[in-house]
């Protein structure tokens, strides 16, 4: 709960910024606030980690349908995530189009935040479902790996 207010404030700033014509990456990045790294992968329903609804994982998950948030509340992030962040320590993480670590995937480096999955496409697994599709509302499972 502790980063909810921050996240809402960030959303408000972003909305205010979007009143203008263009949001530059710089202004968007300045608006995003999130909790510090804690060894988890985070996924949010909204772009820019803009709403509280999220899931987080320490280990691997082969289906994002049942996941839990920071408060331990059960959530469903299957085909619903719009922004993701790797808050692990040294590991990187493959994000898959399908459950069971199947389908096309893309690797998220450590410490990295992708604020808007509409502009990110699955770039590995070319004959797999979802290859080259925008990742928004498509990620279904993940696997921690040593290197992207």
């Amino acid at each position: 709960m502790r980063f909810m207010k921050k996240a809402v404030a960030a959303g408000a700033i972003l909305v205010a910024a979007m009143g203008g014509a263009v949001v530059s990456p710089t202004s968007a990045s300045a608006a995003v606030t999130a909790p510090p790294p804690d060894g988890h992968l985070y996924a949010w329903l909204d772009i820019n980690a803009g709403e509280y609804y999220h899931c987080r994982w320490v280990g691997n998950d082969d289906n994002w349908t049942n996941c839990t948030d920071w408060d331990g509340v059960a959530r469903n992030m299957h085909d619903r995530a719009s922004s993701v962040q790797n808050r692990g320590y040294t590991k990187e993480v493959n994000l898959y189009n399908d459950a069971g670590q199947r389908g096309a995937w893309r690797c998220l480096s450590r410490g990295e935040f992708w604020p808007d999955l509409r502009n990110v496409r699955f770039n590995r697994g070319s004959s797999e479902t979802g290859y080259n599709y925008p990742m928004e509302n498509r990620i279904s499972s993940h696997l921690w790996v040593s290197s992207c």
């Binding site: 320590y89 040294t90 410490g111 935040f113 604020p115």
Partner: protein, 285 residues
Amino acid sequence: MTRIGRRGAGLMAAAGLVAVVGVTVVRPQFSAAEAERPAQVSVDEVEELERAEQILIQRCIERAGFQYMIVPRFVDPVPFTFSYVVDDAGWADKHGYGAALRRRAEAKVDPNERYFRSLPPTRQEALATALNGPEPVGLTATLPGGQVVQHSDKGCQSEAQRELYGDLPTWYASTKVIQNLKGHRFGMVLGDPRYQAALPAWSECMRDRGYRFTSPDAARSEKLTQVVELRQAGAEARCAISTGLGALVRELDTSYDAQLREEHQSLLATRVDLQRRALPKARAL
């Protein structure tokens, strides 16, 4: 240290020469020397830089009150071109598509990760923050296609890179764009008409061996037992060699790599420049 000494002496001599002879005479020689520089830093130099970064990270993590072990960077045991098609029959007979090799490599738990997991949750958070920084703010890269990538400009990783490369935002942005070229190149090779045109012959060769796949990618989309994987990858490799598909993907991969390097020339030059300037600092550690 000796290398820095020699370089330093060389620079001082050059400076002396400028003072005595005058800029007009010396300058062309200097530019010629610069023009002869290779477009990339060597593999050894990259290793020196990575090692220096690890040393700086270790010092920083230790200052934060944690342990950090310097470990070699994880290297994928499967060669990159095998993600298009395996074209080494001996390798394929032994490793298939490399699934078990990768699993074994992944199973070797990094001692830092083991240490991290041994800590209580609050300490884990403090350590992850020490390495990767707090909020993902301060560093931004916009990749071709419009994807925005963000990272904290704080934490030991960023501090180490700032100390080595000086201009951290430029280092981060150029590194992310360049790292992303690999995935881009992969897509370009698969979309190339020459690759597409070579698939039917490979597919026919596979059919003669009892496999029905339209492309090597399609062959990879099933989860296979190890015995099946070895046999199938062995057939794939033999067909890749006999039909020329293997040689073709290698050629296309090299050619698109060159094309992308050309397209991102100035960004690559900027990054190489940062690396060169970081080398003396790295060697002095």
